[in-house]
Symmetry: C2
Subunit: 254 residues, 2 copies
């Protein structure tokens, strides 16, 4: 679902919605800002409806409308009788949703990952544009191979904006987790909340084919991802290649 939230309350904090701005829309933006800034960590519960409503001097129904926006946006999750919780980010195994790698027919656990290369370099014009970086900014570039049961299946090229992901440019890559998104959160405080995946088909280059143990020119599926944090900033560019014959994806139309 596409949701455009009203602009967040400016600076310190305005205690009033802008004119022409609905109260619940403004409230949602306000709560979103507090979540993004870490006031409530993913997994924790917000104060009860009644409390929040009284705090903001607003009727229950109005507060509920604000929460509904954030729920629709995937930022919050409500549980009857328990509370309203900040959702955890994306798990990181989501790339498998595009492929049907199996082991004898059974569904597979998350693949093992190995970092092949790690470089610090200047962002290309396109990368800077997508990541919202100034011209000439540095990025961290990773090449990663993901294997299932010892067989290489996915080849990834990852670009990360650099002041933000500094902690990753020094640590020992051999000790990294198999899943990057939970590690982004733990090590860099970045929660991946949403992503856009662009799918297409191509042919493997000789280098790529060698790493995936396929023939050069073998058909491959490519997933180009832009991943966003809870504030809506793009914080990761990723290109993933895999055997086209293993590709499968289901989409809902309308």
């Amino acid at each position: 679902m596409e949701i455009t939230l009203p602009t967040a309350p400016t600076g310190a904090n305005a205690d009033q919605p802008a004119p022409g701005q609905s109260r619940y829309g403004w409230l949602a933006a306000s709560l979103r800002a507090r979540i993004t800034q870490g006031e409530w960590v993913p997994g924790t519960a917000l104060p009860a409806e009644a409390l929040l409503a009284k705090e903001h001097g607003v009727a229950l129904g109005t507060l509920r409308q604000a929460l509904a926006l954030l729920v629709a946006d995937g930022l919050l999750e409500r549980q009857h009788g328990r509370g309203t919780f900040v959702r955890a980010g994306l798990g990181g195994a989501s790339m498998l949703r595009f492929f049907r790698f199996r082991h004898g027919g059974e569904l597979q656990a998350a693949p093992r990952s190995r970092i092949l290369t790690r470089q610090v370099l200047l962002a290309s014009a396109e990368a800077a544009e997508a990541l919202g970086l100034p011209a000439g900014a540095s990025v961290l570039r990773l090449q990663r191979l993901r294997s299932l049961d010892g067989q290489p299946v996915l080849l990834e090229d990852i670009t990360l904006p650099l002041p933000l992901f500094d902690p990753l440019s020094a640590s020992d890559t051999a000790a990294w987790d198999d899943l990057l998104y939970p590690m982004y959160q733990r090590v860099c405080g970045v929660t991946i909340h949403r992503a856009e995946d662009c799918l297409s088909f191509g042919l493997l280059s000789a280098d790529q084919a060698a790493l995936l143990k396929l023939d050069a020119g073998h058909p491959c599926a490519q997933v180009q991802r832009r991943a966003f944090d809870m504030g809506g900033r793009c914080v990761e560019l990723r290109s993933t290649l895999g055997d086209a014959f293993a590709f499968q994806y289901t989409a809902q139309v309308r």
Copy 2:
């Protein structure tokens, strides 16, 4: 968005929601049934909120919750100051969303269509299952070639349940519209409201390649679609093949 509506009111009509059933959920199901049965044709406006609320002896807010469900489901569309309208079904050009066929770089109009074959035959076990037909039921099978600017680009195989689509088994296929979904609506009274597309990759057979003017064994993208009417019944199975290198699709994650 995935929404499970409560079961529709049984038979004639119960004037009360079942126990353990929310009033607005029941109301939504009731309105959905009236829309599906053609009481309000796509494009027409429903009675005003206040009227509907009074008719059903319910508060405004409750009625609005019911309408919100149907809006989220894509069945209704609300326009501030104008009214609440029944949405038209899918247009039928939706297959192009998976491919980037261009003519010199410009976006293209809907492709021209030609029916290659039309047969009435017994439904396979899988087709009968998917379409909710009894064993031994008949289906209409179409093979269709869609062309852009004279170039064949998509090859389709379409299966339709037969009592429902009888009007299509007799008429002259040369006079058919380029887009099938609007014709389903006009000729058979069937409104396509939603579809599930399963994407995969393969190689063209010699026959398929000849029709698409490509080489045998050329990589192709396949879209297997199940299309549903406003009542949620599956009423069309479709398999579409196109050049894999023209394929491109963008998906939202979370």
